[in-house]
């Protein structure tokens, strides 16, 4: 037999037929298709028992109830908690993405100390033990004594009270809260109602909403609650009037948008008050001094000239406001991340007061400050403007907790200069945020899903309420509860504190109510608000629009920051899920976009998508032009919440290098009552 080419062919054909008659091809096809549907590198949660843990989200002042789904020890999803008094099952984008802040690469995993050979902000750290870290801090604070300061995002609740107690022990009054519209509300309510209170708005029961720049759909108040109220208004056909220089989402979804010259909201409010008083539409009495100022100086024609809103519109607004049975006036720019002037707050308060809706259903409530923390020994209260922007260079130590001043305060350069003068900075951040990077030592807190904390007074909520944030998962890293750290440091320094650990402190603070608090996750209290006095005293020395920084000759334009629901503005920055949702009219690839009216753009010969250099007296940035009819000519709007510089290795592509932090360009304009009421800053634009 001869073996030739044909033999091989036959062998091949036979082999082929044999394979086709075997299960091999079919089985391989099946297996490979299964393989492609389940890439082995796609993470799949472990199987096991699933359950929900209820807690409170503390990523913003909203205080929403959350339900975290866990499979065994792993948290796999954050949902809104049904029936929660503030958020009733709702949750925002940031809250939903919180797991990326728990398991993502942003965490500070152990205590760290800046290396001796490194300057601040160089990112050179050495790992140290908790004992070393805490004794070093105790020693430094012992040296700094009353020259120690602390900055936090809130001054309510047990953790801020522990810090205040620590400071008081050191003889220091220097506790600062990051400025926000809460400052304006609290000051206005103290002056009008006479007791320390937070502003609460009974949104759900109002039947006419007049909003002076409040970003109802941009994250104002407790964002989820405000969104829900807004839907309710739509269902009940409650008119929403938005007064704002820019066509924001809130303005676009409102029943009427009234563009107003930036910074003249208080004049408009006083103009409306003028009509209410003159036409006898007021339903309640207010102080004579207020009536006098308003009647003399705020006739619709005068106000029309200042605000750019026609006199007829002002009268119409006043009449429809008065015609409603439960009208509600709101204020606070955007999310309320910056204060507004006291006069603006008082003017809007006055509209509510004239309608007799203070402490009434559907109205504005002066909710008394929580006073459940009986052990606190504090007399601390200081302002950022004095300690951080002022000339005073005597601070020796700064404690930073739940705050990121280097990112979130206006005029980044000035803040940096202030920090440079402070020899010792301690950060308690769970994340490598801008201020943590600039610290000398980091004592990382457990992340918000790993720790207990009482969360009093959700922003804008109209009843006294405390939420309980509790550990959903075990701490993932070598972190420590800041409460425990402060107690330990305070004890090491000989301060008198009745507790050894934060958990006992929390439990004993709540005493008999602790069990119910644990069970329900919220504590509410009844309060009978005192009858309003009608006292409203405007500060006459500041009855003129806030003067912005910068000469109008050199800086012909006005830059205003704006908020977006998709940019959290949180100190940590946006987790990947969130940043992916940001519009390309806000962030185009990695470039920040500014909104500019086509008319203004024309005079600079700029077209859509072109690059420009935006300069203010404080700084300068390269920006991309987005032509937008919804912004007034002469005004430029820039998104707030971009430009984070995460300081962990691996340079995260979701957070790093995205746009510019608008605070680098912003300055301050203090109203005579000490509130930074800068709604913007003067600016100029050049083609780049």
């Amino acid at each position: 037999m001869k073996i030739d080419r044909r033999s091989f062919l036959s062998l091949g054909v036979g082999f082929g037929a044999g394979i086709a008659l075997s299960p091999l091809p079919w089985k391989l096809t099946d297996d490979s298709s299964i393989w492609t549907q389940m890439w082995p590198w796609t993470p799949v949660p472990e199987r096991g028992e699933s359950r929900y843990v209820n807690s409170v989200c503390t990523l913003c002042p909203g205080g929403c109830g959350i339900s975290v789904r866990k499979v065994e020890d792993r948290a796999v999803k954050i949902e809104g908690q049904k029936g929660h008094p503030v958020s009733n099952g709702g949750i925002c984008l940031l809250g939903l993405s919180g797991l990326q802040l728990l398991y993502g690469p942003y965490r500070v995993k152990y205590p760290m100390k800046r290396r001796e050979d490194a300057k601040r902000g160089q990112g050179k750290w050495q790992k140290i033990s908790w004992d070393e870290a805490m004794s070093e801090v105790a020693k430094k604070l012992g040296d700094a004594k009353d020259k120690t300061a602390c900055i936090m995002d809130s001054d309510k609740g047990t953790v801020p009270q522990l810090f205040k107690t620590l400071l008081t022990g050191l003889g220091s009054p220097n506790f600062m809260r990051t400025p926000s519209v809460e400052d304006s509300f609290e000051l206005a309510l103290l002056k009008t109602c006479g007791y320390p209170a937070s502003a609460g708005f009974d949104l759900e029961n109002a039947d006419f909403v007049l909003s002076f720049g409040a970003g109802l759909l941009e994250g104002w108040g407790a964002p989820v609650r405000t969104f829900k109220a807004n839907s309710l208004w739509k269902d009940k056909k409650v008119p929403v009037i938005q007064i704002e220089p820019r066509l924001s989402n809130t303005a676009a979804k409102s029943d009427k948008w009234i563009p107003v010259n930036p910074g003249t909201e208080s004049e408009l409010a006083l103009g409306i008050a003028h009509v209410l008083i003159k036409e006898g539409l007021a339903k309640a009495e207010v102080s004579d001094s207020f009536k006098k100022i308003v009647s003399e100086g705020y006739a619709p024609d005068t106000v029309a000239r200042i605000t750019g809103v026609e006199a007829g519109v002002i009268v119409g607004l006043a009449k429809s406001f008065a015609a409603a049975s439960k009208p509600l006036a709101l204020c606070g720019r955007g999310k309320g991340a910056t204060p507004i002037s006291l006069n603006e707050t008082l003017a809007v308060y006055a509209l509510n007061a004239l309608m007799g809706n203070i402490n009434q259903e559907g109205g504005l409530f002066a909710v008394p400050q929580p006073d459940y923390i009986k052990w606190a020994k504090t007399n601390s209260n200081a302002s950022v403007s004095k300690l951080l922007y002022g000339k005073d260079a005597s601070l020796k130590a700064l404690l930073v907790a739940n705050a990121n001043p280097l990112y979130s305060l206006p005029d980044t350069q000035a803040v940096k200069t202030a920090l440079d003068k402070i020899p010792f900075i301690v950060s308690f951040s769970s994340y490598m945020d801008e201020t943590a990077q600039y610290a000398d030592i980091i004592l990382p807190n457990h992340c918000y899903l790993e720790r207990y904390e009482d969360v009093p007074a959700p922003a804008g909520y109209h009843k006294p309420l405390i939420g309980l944030s509790r550990p959903v998962v075990k701490p993932q890293f070598n972190t420590k509860h800041t409460g425990d750290v402060v107690i330990a440091i305070a004890k090491a320094m000989g301060a008198e504190l009745p507790y050894d650990s934060y958990e006992t402190c929390l439990k004993e603070t709540f005493g008999d109510t602790w069990e119910a608090f644990q069970k329900d996750g919220v504590l509410t209290a009844d309060f009978t608000p005192p009858a309003p006095s009608g006292k409203i005293e405007l500060n006459e020395t500041s009855l003129k629009p806030v003067a912005l920084e910068g000469e109008s000759s050199a800086f012909p334009l006005v830059l205003v920051p704006f908020d977006s629901m998709r940019l959290s503005g949180s100190s940590i920055g946006e987790p990947p899920f969130v940043i992916k949702t940001v519009d390309d009219t806000i962030l185009f690839k990695n470039d920040i976009c500014i909104e500019i009216n086509p008319k203004t753009a024309q005079s600079y010969n700029l077209s859509d998508g072109k690059y420009a250099r935006l300069t203010t007296p404080k700084g300068s940035a390269k920006v991309r032009v987005h032509l937008y009819e919804g912004i007034m000519p002469g005004v430029i709007a820039m998104p707030r919440g971009l430009g984070h510089t995460p300081g962990f290795t691996g340079n995260d592509k979701y957070l790093a290098g995205k746009g510019v932090n608008v605070n680098e360009l912003m300055g301050s304009a203090e109203c005579p009552d000490g509130l930074n009421a800068a709604y913007g800053i003067r600016a100029k634009l050049e083609r780049a």
């Binding site: 037999m1 001869k2 073996i3 030739d4 044909r6 033999s7 091989f8 062919l9 036959s10 062998l11 091949g12 054909v13 036979g14 082999f15 082929g16 037929a17 044999g18 394979i19 008659l21 075997s22 299960p23 091999l24 079919w26 089985k27 391989l28 099946d30 297996d31 490979s32 299964i34 393989w35 549907q37 389940m38 082995p40 799949v44 199987r47 028992e49 699933s50 359950r51």
Partner: protein, 220 residues
């Protein structure tokens, strides 16, 4: 070589071919090799064999418990199915060594005492893209465990776990028969097997929206 001679040679070659020698033989050889590969070598190569951490007798345990399979493979309070028992369930009886088997000793010493979960290899684990509710089948449709899992409750030993090298899943999903032929309902656990049974029992309305069987009933 003369012309005649050449012709003779040619004829001889032809004769051989005509008798079906070369090509057919080679065809058959090829066929045989391929069949051998496809039916015998391939299944051997496709699956790797793994041993369970230690042996376990279902029949022994079945004789000792009151509630059949559900004594250990139970439904949780929320209705979800717990699957293979965790240490927490076994500890009830096996806090200390009870009997005399070497396996139990391994279990108690290596796992119970150390508080370590047993890394059981699960024969019937479906791929991750499959959503399967035991409650719907056992509680609602009142199916017996054996219908899908076979008489595992009577087994005295644990067979080796065969893992598909491509997909990583157990051989029991496709079934022991490489051709996919089954004689019992529990021989295979592929989608077609689910579908067959659904069809047979007239399970049509498993999707509330379409009132039909729908992809997303199992593939969420």
């Amino acid at each position: 070589m003369g012309t005649e001679e050449k012709q003779i040679k040619h004829a001889a070659d032809h004769a051989a071919e005509g008798a079906g020698g070369g090509p057919i033989l080679f065809f058959i050889i090829g066929l045989a090799i391929a069949l051998g590969i496809g039916w015998i070598a391939f299944p051997k190569a496709l699956y790797s064999q793994k041993q369970q951490p230690f042996d376990f007798s279902h029949s022994l345990h079945n004789g000792l418990v009151d509630n059949g399979c559900e004594s250990c493979h139970f439904f949780r309070e929320d209705g979800s199915y717990a699957g293979v028992p965790k240490l927490a369930q076994c500890i009830g009886c096996h806090e200390d060594v009870q009997g005399s088997t070497p396996e139990e000793k391994v279990f108690v010493e290596e796992y119970v005492k150390k508080g370590k979960e047993v890394p059981w290899l699960i024969y019937s684990r479906q791929p991750d893209c499959v959503f399967f509710s035991h409650a719907a089948h056992v509680k609602v449709a009142k199916m017996k465990c054996e219908e899908c899992h076979g008489p595992i409750g009577e087994s005295k030993n644990l067979k080796p776990y065969e893992q598909n090298r491509i997909t990583g899943y157990s051989r029991d999903i496709w079934g022991q028969n490489i051709a996919g032929i089954k004689t019992h309902t529990y021989d295979r656990m592929k989608m077609d097997d689910c579908a067959d049974c659904h069809k047979e029992r007239g399970v049509k309305a498993s999707s509330v929206q379409t009132e039909r069987d729908a992809c997303f009933v199992c593939h969420k």
